[in-house]
Protein backbone atom coordinates (compact mmCIF):
# COMPACT_ATOMS: atom_id res chain seq x y z
CA UNK A 1 0.00 0.00 0.00
CA UNK A 2 2.86 2.34 0.87
CA UNK A 3 4.34 1.99 -2.60
CA UNK A 4 0.97 2.78 -4.15
CA UNK A 5 0.53 5.91 -2.05
CA UNK A 6 4.06 7.03 -2.77
CA UNK A 7 3.53 6.55 -6.48
CA UNK A 8 0.29 8.49 -6.49
CA UNK A 9 1.76 11.25 -4.34
CA UNK A 10 4.75 11.48 -6.66
CA UNK A 11 2.57 11.70 -9.76
CA UNK A 12 0.32 14.30 -8.12
CA UNK A 13 3.32 16.41 -7.11
CA UNK A 14 4.72 16.31 -10.61
CA UNK A 15 1.34 17.23 -12.06
CA UNK A 16 1.04 20.22 -9.76
CA UNK A 17 4.57 21.41 -10.43
CA UNK A 18 4.48 20.83 -14.16
CA UNK A 19 3.59 23.64 -16.48
CA UNK A 20 1.40 22.04 -19.16
CA UNK A 21 2.76 24.01 -22.04
CA UNK A 22 2.30 23.06 -25.64
CA UNK A 23 5.29 21.89 -27.61
CA UNK A 24 4.96 24.99 -29.78
CA UNK A 25 6.62 26.91 -27.00
CA UNK A 26 9.73 24.81 -27.46
CA UNK A 27 11.51 27.45 -29.45
CA UNK A 28 10.55 30.43 -27.32
CA UNK A 29 11.80 29.24 -23.99
CA UNK A 30 14.72 27.06 -23.11
CA UNK A 31 12.98 25.39 -20.20
CA UNK A 32 9.58 23.80 -20.43
CA UNK A 33 7.61 20.76 -19.35
CA UNK A 34 5.52 18.51 -21.54
CA UNK A 35 2.79 16.24 -20.24
CA UNK A 36 1.36 13.24 -21.97
CA UNK A 37 0.19 9.76 -21.28
CA UNK A 38 -1.61 6.71 -22.44
CA UNK A 39 -3.74 3.91 -21.10
CA UNK A 40 -5.89 0.94 -21.97
CA UNK A 41 -8.64 -1.21 -20.50
CA UNK A 42 -9.76 -4.56 -21.82
CA UNK A 43 -12.49 -7.16 -21.46
CA UNK A 44 -11.33 -10.68 -22.34
CA UNK A 45 -13.38 -13.84 -22.64
CA UNK A 46 -11.61 -17.22 -22.60
CA UNK A 47 -13.86 -19.63 -24.46
CA UNK A 48 -12.19 -22.79 -23.15
CA UNK A 49 -12.43 -21.78 -19.54
CA UNK A 50 -15.79 -20.10 -20.14
CA UNK A 51 -14.46 -17.25 -18.06
CA UNK A 52 -14.12 -13.53 -18.58
CA UNK A 53 -12.06 -10.77 -17.03
CA UNK A 54 -11.97 -7.03 -17.34
CA UNK A 55 -8.98 -4.94 -16.36
CA UNK A 56 -7.65 -1.42 -16.50
CA UNK A 57 -4.40 -2.77 -17.90
CA UNK A 58 -2.34 0.33 -17.57
CA UNK A 59 -2.34 4.08 -17.26
CA UNK A 60 0.94 5.81 -17.97
CA UNK A 61 1.87 9.40 -17.26
CA UNK A 62 4.49 10.83 -19.57
CA UNK A 63 6.47 13.79 -18.30
CA UNK A 64 9.13 15.41 -20.40
CA UNK A 65 11.17 18.37 -19.32
CA UNK A 66 13.64 20.44 -21.28
CA UNK A 67 16.24 21.73 -18.87
CA UNK A 68 17.91 23.57 -21.72
CA UNK A 69 18.08 23.39 -25.48
CA UNK A 70 20.49 20.48 -25.20
CA UNK A 71 19.46 18.60 -22.07
CA UNK A 72 16.05 17.08 -21.43
CA UNK A 73 14.29 14.49 -19.30
CA UNK A 74 11.95 11.81 -20.62
CA UNK A 75 9.91 9.80 -18.15
CA UNK A 76 6.92 7.48 -18.14
CA UNK A 77 5.37 6.37 -14.87
CA UNK A 78 3.10 3.38 -15.27
CA UNK A 79 0.44 1.88 -13.07
CA UNK A 80 -0.83 -1.52 -14.11
CA UNK A 81 -4.14 -3.11 -13.15
CA UNK A 82 -5.47 0.05 -11.52
CA UNK A 83 -4.56 -0.86 -7.98
CA UNK A 84 -1.62 -2.10 -5.97
CA UNK A 85 -2.54 -3.74 -2.73
CA UNK A 86 -0.20 -5.42 -0.26
CA UNK A 87 -0.16 -9.18 -0.39
CA UNK A 88 -2.41 -9.44 -3.40
CA UNK A 89 -1.28 -10.51 -6.87
CA UNK A 90 -1.47 -8.10 -9.79
CA UNK A 91 -0.90 -4.41 -9.89
CA UNK A 92 2.39 -2.65 -10.39
CA UNK A 93 3.74 0.85 -10.24
CA UNK A 94 6.91 1.26 -12.23
CA UNK A 95 8.87 3.70 -14.26
CA UNK A 96 8.72 2.58 -17.84
CA UNK A 97 11.30 5.17 -18.80
CA UNK A 98 13.27 7.78 -16.90
CA UNK A 99 16.31 9.09 -18.68
CA UNK A 100 18.19 12.26 -19.40
CA UNK A 101 18.89 13.03 -23.02
CA UNK A 102 21.84 15.11 -24.15
CA UNK A 103 21.58 16.45 -27.68
CA UNK A 104 25.18 16.42 -28.89
CA UNK A 105 24.28 18.01 -32.21
CA UNK A 106 21.39 17.91 -34.66
CA UNK A 107 22.10 14.30 -35.58
CA UNK A 108 23.37 12.68 -32.41
CA UNK A 109 22.12 12.35 -28.88
CA UNK A 110 23.22 10.50 -25.79
CA UNK A 111 20.76 9.11 -23.27
CA UNK A 112 21.46 7.93 -19.73
CA UNK A 113 19.10 6.31 -17.28
CA UNK A 114 16.23 3.88 -17.65
CA UNK A 115 15.24 3.60 -21.29
CA UNK A 116 13.76 1.24 -23.87
CA UNK A 117 16.43 -0.07 -26.22
CA UNK A 118 15.39 -0.16 -29.87
CA UNK A 119 14.50 -3.85 -30.29
CA UNK A 120 11.48 -4.81 -32.35
CA UNK A 121 8.63 -2.46 -33.11
CA UNK A 122 6.55 -2.30 -29.95
CA UNK A 123 9.32 -1.66 -27.50
CA UNK A 124 9.39 1.96 -28.62
CA UNK A 125 5.95 2.22 -30.22
CA UNK A 126 3.93 0.67 -27.40
CA UNK A 127 1.04 3.11 -27.16
CA UNK A 128 -2.36 1.41 -27.56
CA UNK A 129 -3.11 3.77 -30.42
CA UNK A 130 0.02 2.57 -32.23
CA UNK A 131 -0.72 -1.15 -32.61
CA UNK A 132 -3.69 -3.16 -33.78
CA UNK A 133 -5.58 -5.40 -31.38
CA UNK A 134 -6.17 -5.09 -27.67
CA UNK A 135 -3.19 -7.23 -26.79
CA UNK A 136 0.36 -6.45 -27.74
CA UNK A 137 1.70 -9.03 -30.16
CA UNK A 138 2.50 -12.38 -28.58
CA UNK A 139 5.92 -12.45 -30.24
CA UNK A 140 6.80 -9.07 -28.76
CA UNK A 141 5.52 -10.16 -25.37
CA UNK A 142 7.09 -13.59 -24.95
CA UNK A 143 10.06 -13.73 -27.33
CA UNK A 144 10.96 -10.02 -27.18
CA UNK A 145 9.80 -9.00 -23.72
CA UNK A 146 8.35 -5.59 -24.50
CA UNK A 147 8.27 -3.16 -22.95
CA UNK A 148 11.86 -3.95 -22.11
CA UNK A 149 13.69 -1.21 -20.30
CA UNK A 150 17.03 -1.37 -18.57
CA UNK A 151 19.52 1.05 -17.05
CA UNK A 152 22.44 2.28 -19.07
CA UNK A 153 23.66 4.70 -21.67
CA UNK A 154 22.73 4.85 -25.32
CA UNK A 155 23.74 6.74 -28.42
CA UNK A 156 21.19 7.65 -31.07
CA UNK A 157 22.14 9.04 -34.43
CA UNK A 158 21.04 9.55 -37.97
CA UNK A 159 22.81 9.87 -41.25
CA UNK A 160 22.72 13.16 -43.11
CA UNK A 161 23.00 11.65 -46.57
CA UNK A 162 20.76 8.61 -46.20
CA UNK A 163 17.42 8.19 -44.40
CA UNK A 164 19.20 5.98 -41.92
CA UNK A 165 19.11 6.06 -38.15
CA UNK A 166 21.11 3.99 -35.71
CA UNK A 167 21.37 3.35 -32.02
CA UNK A 168 23.75 1.59 -29.68
CA UNK A 169 23.36 1.07 -25.98
CA UNK A 170 25.20 -0.42 -23.06
CA UNK A 171 22.77 -1.55 -20.37
CA UNK A 172 22.67 -3.87 -17.41
CA UNK A 173 22.25 -7.52 -18.32
CA UNK A 174 19.56 -10.05 -17.52
CA UNK A 175 19.23 -12.34 -14.52
CA UNK A 176 19.26 -16.01 -15.55
CA UNK A 177 17.83 -16.99 -12.17
CA UNK A 178 14.63 -15.25 -13.18
CA UNK A 179 14.12 -17.07 -16.47
CA UNK A 180 10.80 -18.85 -16.25
CA UNK A 181 9.30 -21.73 -18.16
CA UNK A 182 6.56 -20.24 -20.30
CA UNK A 183 7.86 -16.71 -20.50
CA UNK A 184 11.44 -17.26 -21.68
CA UNK A 185 13.68 -14.34 -20.56
CA UNK A 186 10.85 -11.99 -19.56
CA UNK A 187 11.17 -12.50 -15.80
CA UNK A 188 14.92 -12.10 -16.07
CA UNK A 189 14.63 -8.37 -16.70
CA UNK A 190 15.61 -5.98 -13.93
CA UNK A 191 13.64 -3.02 -15.28
CA UNK A 192 15.70 -0.54 -13.31
CA UNK A 193 15.30 -2.06 -9.85
CA UNK A 194 18.52 -3.02 -8.07
CA UNK A 195 19.98 -4.36 -11.27
CA UNK A 196 23.21 -6.28 -11.21
CA UNK A 197 25.97 -4.26 -12.79
CA UNK A 198 28.44 -7.13 -12.93
CA UNK A 199 26.89 -8.35 -16.15
CA UNK A 200 26.17 -6.04 -19.07
CA UNK A 201 24.48 -6.07 -22.44
CA UNK A 202 25.09 -4.38 -25.76
CA UNK A 203 22.20 -3.58 -28.05
CA UNK A 204 22.13 -1.93 -31.42
CA UNK A 205 19.68 -1.12 -34.16
CA UNK A 206 19.78 0.20 -37.68
CA UNK A 207 16.69 1.70 -39.33
CA UNK A 208 16.27 2.63 -42.96
CA UNK A 209 13.37 4.74 -44.19
CA UNK A 210 12.09 5.27 -47.67
CA UNK A 211 8.86 7.22 -47.90
CA UNK A 212 6.29 5.03 -46.10
CA UNK A 213 8.62 2.03 -45.91
CA UNK A 214 10.75 1.25 -42.90
CA UNK A 215 13.10 -1.63 -42.28
CA UNK A 216 15.01 -2.32 -39.11
CA UNK A 217 17.67 -4.70 -37.91
CA UNK A 218 18.41 -4.95 -34.23
CA UNK A 219 20.42 -7.12 -31.91
CA UNK A 220 21.21 -7.83 -28.29
CA UNK A 221 24.15 -9.56 -26.63
CA UNK A 222 24.29 -9.67 -22.88
CA UNK A 223 25.48 -11.59 -19.88
CA UNK A 224 22.96 -13.16 -17.54
CA UNK A 225 24.98 -13.84 -14.41
CA UNK A 226 25.40 -10.92 -12.05
CA UNK A 227 26.80 -12.92 -9.19
CA UNK A 228 30.32 -12.40 -7.88
CA UNK A 229 32.74 -14.71 -9.67
CA UNK A 230 33.16 -17.13 -6.75
CA UNK A 231 29.41 -17.63 -6.38
CA UNK A 232 28.90 -17.96 -10.12
CA UNK A 233 31.67 -20.52 -10.45
CA UNK A 234 30.24 -22.52 -7.56
CA UNK A 235 27.08 -22.77 -9.67
CA UNK A 236 29.20 -23.67 -12.71
CA UNK A 237 28.07 -20.51 -14.48
CA UNK A 238 30.37 -18.23 -16.45
CA UNK A 239 30.49 -14.86 -14.69
CA UNK A 240 31.70 -11.58 -16.12
CA UNK A 241 30.12 -8.82 -18.15
CA UNK A 242 29.03 -11.11 -20.97
CA UNK A 243 29.19 -14.50 -19.29
CA UNK A 244 26.41 -17.06 -19.92
CA UNK A 245 25.04 -14.84 -22.69
CA UNK A 246 21.67 -14.29 -24.28
CA UNK A 247 21.88 -13.40 -27.96
CA UNK A 248 18.94 -11.89 -29.84
CA UNK A 249 18.58 -10.96 -33.48
CA UNK A 250 15.55 -9.18 -34.87
CA UNK A 251 14.40 -7.80 -38.19
CA UNK A 252 11.20 -6.00 -39.06
CA UNK A 253 9.67 -4.02 -41.85
CA UNK A 254 6.58 -1.87 -42.15
CA UNK A 255 4.89 -0.19 -45.07
CA UNK A 256 1.91 2.13 -45.39
CA UNK A 257 0.12 3.18 -48.55
CA UNK A 258 -3.37 4.46 -49.34
CA UNK A 259 -4.93 3.34 -46.10
CA UNK A 260 -3.19 -0.03 -46.10
CA UNK A 261 -0.48 -0.90 -43.63
CA UNK A 262 1.71 -3.95 -43.34
CA UNK A 263 4.10 -5.16 -40.67
CA UNK A 264 6.52 -8.07 -40.64
CA UNK A 265 8.77 -9.06 -37.77
CA UNK A 266 11.00 -12.03 -37.05
CA UNK A 267 13.27 -12.70 -34.11
CA UNK A 268 15.59 -15.39 -32.78
CA UNK A 269 16.82 -15.87 -29.23
CA UNK A 270 19.83 -18.00 -28.45
CA UNK A 271 20.98 -19.06 -24.98
CA UNK A 272 24.02 -21.24 -25.70
CA UNK A 273 24.71 -22.01 -22.02
CA UNK A 274 21.12 -23.02 -21.23
CA UNK A 275 22.31 -26.34 -19.86
CA UNK A 276 24.45 -24.63 -17.23
CA UNK A 277 21.57 -22.32 -16.31
CA UNK A 278 19.31 -25.31 -15.83
CA UNK A 279 21.91 -27.01 -13.67
CA UNK A 280 22.11 -23.94 -11.48
CA UNK A 281 18.47 -22.87 -11.30
CA UNK A 282 16.34 -25.79 -12.59
CA UNK A 283 14.18 -23.37 -14.57
CA UNK A 284 14.04 -25.31 -17.85
CA UNK A 285 15.73 -22.62 -19.89
CA UNK A 286 15.69 -23.45 -23.60
CA UNK A 287 18.70 -23.19 -25.87
CA UNK A 288 16.81 -21.25 -28.51
CA UNK A 289 13.46 -19.67 -29.29
CA UNK A 290 11.97 -17.82 -32.21
CA UNK A 291 8.91 -15.91 -33.28
CA UNK A 292 7.59 -14.06 -36.28
CA UNK A 293 4.42 -12.36 -37.36
CA UNK A 294 2.84 -10.77 -40.39
CA UNK A 295 0.06 -8.23 -40.20
CA UNK A 296 -2.07 -6.45 -42.74
CA UNK A 297 -4.51 -3.66 -41.98
CA UNK A 298 -6.76 -1.28 -43.86
CA UNK A 299 -8.43 1.93 -42.77
CA UNK A 300 -11.98 1.61 -44.12
CA UNK A 301 -12.47 5.37 -43.78
CA UNK A 302 -9.33 6.25 -45.64
CA UNK A 303 -11.02 6.99 -48.95
CA UNK A 304 -13.56 9.24 -47.20
CA UNK A 305 -10.89 11.38 -45.62
CA UNK A 306 -7.14 11.24 -45.43
CA UNK A 307 -7.20 13.07 -42.12
CA UNK A 308 -5.68 11.02 -39.33
CA UNK A 309 -8.40 11.77 -36.84
CA UNK A 310 -11.23 9.40 -37.79
CA UNK A 311 -10.31 5.86 -38.71
CA UNK A 312 -11.88 2.44 -38.80
CA UNK A 313 -9.07 -0.06 -39.11
CA UNK A 314 -9.65 -3.71 -39.87
CA UNK A 315 -6.66 -6.00 -39.41
CA UNK A 316 -5.48 -9.58 -39.55
CA UNK A 317 -2.30 -10.85 -37.95
CA UNK A 318 -0.68 -14.26 -37.96
CA UNK A 319 1.91 -15.04 -35.32
CA UNK A 320 4.04 -18.10 -34.81
CA UNK A 321 6.36 -18.57 -31.90
CA UNK A 322 8.25 -21.31 -30.16
CA UNK A 323 9.66 -20.56 -26.74
CA UNK A 324 11.65 -23.80 -26.74
CA UNK A 325 12.62 -24.48 -30.31
CA UNK A 326 15.64 -26.33 -28.96
CA UNK A 327 16.35 -27.44 -25.44
CA UNK A 328 19.58 -28.67 -23.84
CA UNK A 329 20.05 -32.25 -22.67
CA UNK A 330 18.74 -31.38 -19.21
CA UNK A 331 15.72 -29.46 -20.54
CA UNK A 332 12.18 -30.59 -21.23
CA UNK A 333 10.50 -29.68 -24.48
CA UNK A 334 6.98 -28.39 -23.93
CA UNK A 335 4.63 -28.39 -26.91
CA UNK A 336 2.34 -25.79 -25.35
CA UNK A 337 5.09 -23.25 -25.94
CA UNK A 338 4.86 -23.85 -29.69
CA UNK A 339 2.02 -21.54 -30.61
CA UNK A 340 0.23 -20.14 -33.61
CA UNK A 341 -2.04 -17.16 -33.10
CA UNK A 342 -4.45 -15.73 -35.64
CA UNK A 343 -5.87 -12.38 -34.61
CA UNK A 344 -8.46 -10.39 -36.49
CA UNK A 345 -10.43 -7.37 -35.48
CA UNK A 346 -11.35 -3.74 -35.72
CA UNK A 347 -10.11 -0.51 -34.26
CA UNK A 348 -12.29 2.56 -34.39
CA UNK A 349 -10.56 5.89 -33.83
CA UNK A 350 -13.09 8.72 -33.31
CA UNK A 351 -9.92 10.79 -32.86
CA UNK A 352 -6.37 9.73 -33.54
CA UNK A 353 -5.77 9.70 -29.77
CA UNK A 354 -8.64 7.43 -28.78
CA UNK A 355 -9.36 3.93 -30.00
CA UNK A 356 -12.10 1.41 -29.35
CA UNK A 357 -10.92 -2.09 -30.18
CA UNK A 358 -12.58 -5.45 -30.73
CA UNK A 359 -10.75 -8.55 -31.83
CA UNK A 360 -10.73 -12.31 -31.70
CA UNK A 361 -7.60 -14.40 -31.17
CA UNK A 362 -7.50 -18.04 -32.17
CA UNK A 363 -4.58 -19.95 -30.72
CA UNK A 364 -3.33 -23.45 -31.35
CA UNK A 365 -0.45 -25.04 -29.51
CA UNK A 366 1.44 -28.31 -29.48
CA UNK A 367 0.62 -31.00 -26.96
CA UNK A 368 1.73 -30.60 -23.39
CA UNK A 369 4.71 -32.46 -22.10
CA UNK A 370 3.98 -35.42 -19.86
CA UNK A 371 6.32 -33.93 -17.29
CA UNK A 372 5.25 -30.28 -17.24
CA UNK A 373 1.55 -29.93 -16.59
CA UNK A 374 0.10 -26.82 -18.24
CA UNK A 375 -2.34 -24.40 -16.68
CA UNK A 376 -5.79 -25.96 -16.90
CA UNK A 377 -4.51 -29.55 -16.78
CA UNK A 378 -6.08 -32.13 -17.17
CA UNK A 379 -8.56 -30.27 -19.36
CA UNK A 380 -5.86 -28.45 -21.35
CA UNK A 381 -6.91 -28.08 -24.97
CA UNK A 382 -4.49 -27.37 -27.76
CA UNK A 383 -6.75 -24.74 -29.27
CA UNK A 384 -8.59 -21.84 -27.74
CA UNK A 385 -10.37 -18.64 -28.66
CA UNK A 386 -10.27 -15.31 -26.92
CA UNK A 387 -12.61 -12.38 -27.47
CA UNK A 388 -11.15 -9.00 -26.58
CA UNK A 389 -12.95 -5.68 -26.38
CA UNK A 390 -11.23 -2.59 -25.07
CA UNK A 391 -10.42 1.06 -25.21
CA UNK A 392 -7.14 2.89 -25.45
CA UNK A 393 -5.98 6.47 -25.44
CA UNK A 394 -2.84 8.50 -25.76
CA UNK A 395 -2.12 12.19 -25.56
Amino acid sequence: MNSALKGIAFAATILILARPTGALNAQTSDEKTTLGGYGSAMYQRDFNLKDATVDLERVVLFIGHDFSRKVSLVSELEMEDAKVSGGEPGGEIAFEQAYVKFALNADHSLVAGLFLPRIGILNEEHLPTSFNGNERTQVETYILPSTWRELGVGMYGRNDLLPLTWSFALVNGLNAAGFTHGSLIREGRFEGRNASANNLALTGALQYFQDQFRVQLSGYYGGTVGLPAAQAESLKLSPGPFGTPVVIGEADASYEISGFSFRLLGTLVSIPDAEQINQAYSNNTPRSAYGFYAEGAYNLLWSASQAADRQLVVFLRLEKLDMNSSVPANGISDGTLRQVHLIGGLGYFPLSSVVIKADVRFVTTGSPSEVILPVGFPSYQTSNTFLNVGIGFSF
Binding site: T34, Y38, V74, A106, S109, L127, L161, P163, F395
Partner: protein, 142 residues
Protein backbone atom coordinates in the same frame (compact mmCIF):
# COMPACT_ATOMS: atom_id res chain seq x y z
CA UNK B 1 35.15 -23.82 -67.86
CA UNK B 2 32.79 -26.39 -66.46
CA UNK B 3 29.15 -25.66 -65.66
CA UNK B 4 29.68 -25.37 -61.91
CA UNK B 5 32.57 -22.91 -62.30
CA UNK B 6 30.59 -20.89 -64.84
CA UNK B 7 27.60 -20.56 -62.49
CA UNK B 8 29.88 -19.70 -59.60
CA UNK B 9 31.78 -17.00 -61.48
CA UNK B 10 28.57 -15.59 -63.00
CA UNK B 11 26.90 -15.37 -59.61
CA UNK B 12 29.99 -13.75 -58.11
CA UNK B 13 29.99 -11.15 -60.87
CA UNK B 14 26.29 -10.44 -60.34
CA UNK B 15 26.77 -10.08 -56.59
CA UNK B 16 29.72 -7.75 -57.07
CA UNK B 17 27.75 -5.66 -59.54
CA UNK B 18 24.78 -5.50 -57.18
CA UNK B 19 27.01 -4.57 -54.26
CA UNK B 20 28.65 -1.89 -56.35
CA UNK B 21 25.35 -0.34 -57.35
CA UNK B 22 23.84 -0.57 -53.85
CA UNK B 23 25.35 2.68 -52.51
CA UNK B 24 24.21 4.48 -55.63
CA UNK B 25 20.70 3.06 -55.30
CA UNK B 26 20.54 4.04 -51.65
CA UNK B 27 21.90 7.52 -52.35
CA UNK B 28 19.30 8.01 -55.07
CA UNK B 29 16.69 7.70 -52.30
CA UNK B 30 18.54 10.07 -50.02
CA UNK B 31 17.01 13.38 -49.01
CA UNK B 32 20.42 14.99 -49.38
CA UNK B 33 22.70 16.51 -46.82
CA UNK B 34 21.23 19.33 -44.76
CA UNK B 35 21.93 22.82 -46.05
CA UNK B 36 23.73 24.66 -43.28
CA UNK B 37 23.49 28.39 -42.80
CA UNK B 38 23.87 31.11 -40.19
CA UNK B 39 20.81 32.97 -39.01
CA UNK B 40 21.87 36.48 -38.03
CA UNK B 41 19.07 38.36 -36.26
CA UNK B 42 16.94 35.20 -36.48
CA UNK B 43 16.79 35.41 -40.26
CA UNK B 44 17.76 32.30 -42.14
CA UNK B 45 18.60 33.05 -45.77
CA UNK B 46 18.64 30.19 -48.26
CA UNK B 47 19.31 30.49 -52.01
CA UNK B 48 16.52 29.19 -54.24
CA UNK B 49 19.19 27.50 -56.33
CA UNK B 50 19.45 24.60 -53.84
CA UNK B 51 16.10 23.35 -55.14
CA UNK B 52 17.32 22.51 -58.62
CA UNK B 53 17.19 18.76 -58.03
CA UNK B 54 14.63 18.34 -55.28
CA UNK B 55 11.59 20.08 -53.84
CA UNK B 56 12.38 19.42 -50.17
CA UNK B 57 15.60 20.32 -48.39
CA UNK B 58 16.51 20.02 -44.74
CA UNK B 59 17.91 23.29 -43.45
CA UNK B 60 20.19 23.46 -40.44
CA UNK B 61 20.70 26.84 -38.82
CA UNK B 62 23.84 26.95 -36.72
CA UNK B 63 22.15 28.91 -33.94
CA UNK B 64 18.85 27.04 -33.89
CA UNK B 65 18.32 23.70 -32.16
CA UNK B 66 15.93 22.10 -34.67
CA UNK B 67 16.23 21.22 -38.31
CA UNK B 68 13.79 22.88 -40.69
CA UNK B 69 12.15 21.26 -43.68
CA UNK B 70 11.90 23.76 -46.52
CA UNK B 71 9.67 22.67 -49.36
CA UNK B 72 9.34 24.37 -52.73
CA UNK B 73 5.64 24.45 -53.56
CA UNK B 74 5.85 26.37 -56.81
CA UNK B 75 7.41 29.46 -58.35
CA UNK B 76 8.63 31.57 -55.42
CA UNK B 77 6.38 29.64 -53.07
CA UNK B 78 7.79 27.73 -50.12
CA UNK B 79 6.81 26.16 -46.81
CA UNK B 80 9.09 25.92 -43.78
CA UNK B 81 8.35 23.44 -40.98
CA UNK B 82 10.17 22.95 -37.69
CA UNK B 83 11.12 19.27 -37.39
CA UNK B 84 10.08 18.76 -33.79
CA UNK B 85 7.27 16.41 -32.84
CA UNK B 86 4.30 18.34 -31.49
CA UNK B 87 3.61 15.57 -28.98
CA UNK B 88 6.77 15.43 -26.88
CA UNK B 89 9.16 17.74 -28.68
CA UNK B 90 11.38 14.97 -30.02
CA UNK B 91 13.36 15.57 -33.20
CA UNK B 92 11.89 14.10 -36.40
CA UNK B 93 13.51 12.03 -39.13
CA UNK B 94 12.82 12.84 -42.78
CA UNK B 95 12.00 9.72 -44.81
CA UNK B 96 11.71 11.33 -48.22
CA UNK B 97 7.97 11.92 -48.12
CA UNK B 98 7.16 12.05 -44.41
CA UNK B 99 8.57 12.92 -41.01
CA UNK B 100 8.81 10.23 -38.31
CA UNK B 101 9.19 10.48 -34.56
CA UNK B 102 10.99 7.56 -32.91
CA UNK B 103 9.87 8.38 -29.38
CA UNK B 104 6.19 7.37 -29.61
CA UNK B 105 5.75 6.67 -33.33
CA UNK B 106 3.98 9.82 -34.55
CA UNK B 107 4.26 10.55 -38.26
CA UNK B 108 3.61 13.71 -40.25
CA UNK B 109 3.15 14.29 -43.96
CA UNK B 110 5.01 16.92 -45.97
CA UNK B 111 2.34 19.48 -45.13
CA UNK B 112 3.12 18.91 -41.44
CA UNK B 113 -0.24 17.26 -40.77
CA UNK B 114 -0.08 14.37 -38.29
CA UNK B 115 -0.82 11.11 -40.06
CA UNK B 116 -0.37 8.92 -37.02
CA UNK B 117 -0.68 9.77 -33.33
CA UNK B 118 -0.19 10.40 -30.57
CA UNK B 119 0.72 13.81 -32.03
CA UNK B 120 -2.43 15.73 -32.97
CA UNK B 121 -1.11 19.21 -33.68
CA UNK B 122 0.49 19.97 -37.03
CA UNK B 123 4.14 20.85 -37.25
CA UNK B 124 4.92 24.47 -36.59
CA UNK B 125 5.19 26.47 -39.79
CA UNK B 126 7.57 29.43 -39.97
CA UNK B 127 6.91 32.69 -41.76
CA UNK B 128 9.09 33.34 -44.78
CA UNK B 129 9.52 35.64 -47.72
CA UNK B 130 11.14 35.26 -51.13
CA UNK B 131 13.03 37.91 -53.01
CA UNK B 132 16.01 38.16 -55.33
CA UNK B 133 16.48 34.42 -55.47
CA UNK B 134 16.69 34.05 -51.71
CA UNK B 135 14.23 32.52 -49.26
CA UNK B 136 14.30 34.25 -45.88
CA UNK B 137 12.87 32.20 -43.02
CA UNK B 138 12.03 33.98 -39.78
CA UNK B 139 13.17 31.85 -36.86
CA UNK B 140 11.31 32.14 -33.57
CA UNK B 141 12.87 34.15 -30.77
CA UNK B 142 14.39 32.40 -27.80
Amino acid sequence: MDRRAFIKSSCSACLLAAAGSLPEALLSCAPGAPYEADAPMGLLRIPESIFQETTVRIIRARTFDSDIALEKLGESSYRALILRCTHADNELTFTGSAFNCSLHGSTFDLQGTPTRGPARLPLRQLPLEVSAGMVTVHLPAG
